[in-house]
Assembly symmetry: C2
Homo-oligomer: 129 residues x 2
């Protein structure tokens, strides 16, 4: 089993989707709307952004869900890629909230998406095998 869909929530889906598309360069599968945005990642996994009240409404064709408050996602970048990303983010005016070196040898930087979700970019391995 592997993760196929990872979900984050945002009140302003379109604005938040712009961060993932334009700043992080993720590939959108269709134009974002006020309910959801869909991104296809390099490993064929999918990142979804939902507006929680719409996704949580009863009567959808699939079961309802919707969480309020800042979520978290970590995205792996290519080896030796974190410094490049740090530079790109600073150039685009994105504040780097925190940087961290992990015991297994990985390194992370943390930013916030426009909805306040904590987005971690990771180089290397952060967890034991």
């Amino acid at each position: 089993m592997r993760v196929y869909e990872t979900v984050l929530y945002a009140e302003d889906v379109v604005g938040t989707a712009g961060f993932y598309a334009d700043v992080l360069g993720l590939r959108q599968l269709r134009e974002a709307d006020e309910t959801s945005a869909v991104f296809r990642l390099a490993d064929n996994g999918v990142l979804l952004i939902f507006e929680p009240k719409r996704a949580g409404a009863p009567g959808r064709i699939v079961p309802s869900h919707g969480a309020i408050g800042p979520g978290h996602i970590a995205l792996s970048v290519e080896p030796e890629g974190l410094e490049t990303w740090a530079g790109r983010l600073r150039e685009q005016g994105v504040e780097i909230e925190h940087e961290h070196e992990w015991a297994p040898g990985g390194r992370s930087l943390y930013v916030r998406d426009p909805a306040g979700n904590s987005v971690e970019l990771v180089e290397g391995e952060v967890w034991p095998p």
Copy 2:
């Protein structure tokens, strides 16, 4: 870029982690505690379960986050594996909330974890390439 960490939230982390370990068979990296649980997936991705108030408290070594309400995750199962999973889940008394056939050829079933998160098991492809 690919998703490295996917996060769900639960008030009862230990009880919810039991569902992912015992019912879904995911491999825990360490014993779950009242703050978090960590699972390593087959593709080396990581699923984290956090208690939102603890993960959202200020002064952690990493930036805070924590969402309230039902989240969503989809997990890919092996080809032709969905029927086997449906049987296993029913045997363990897990209610299948919904089943869905998707236009690109994929099929999904939906259950709830003990925290109310919507967990989708997917066979095949649900999204355009």
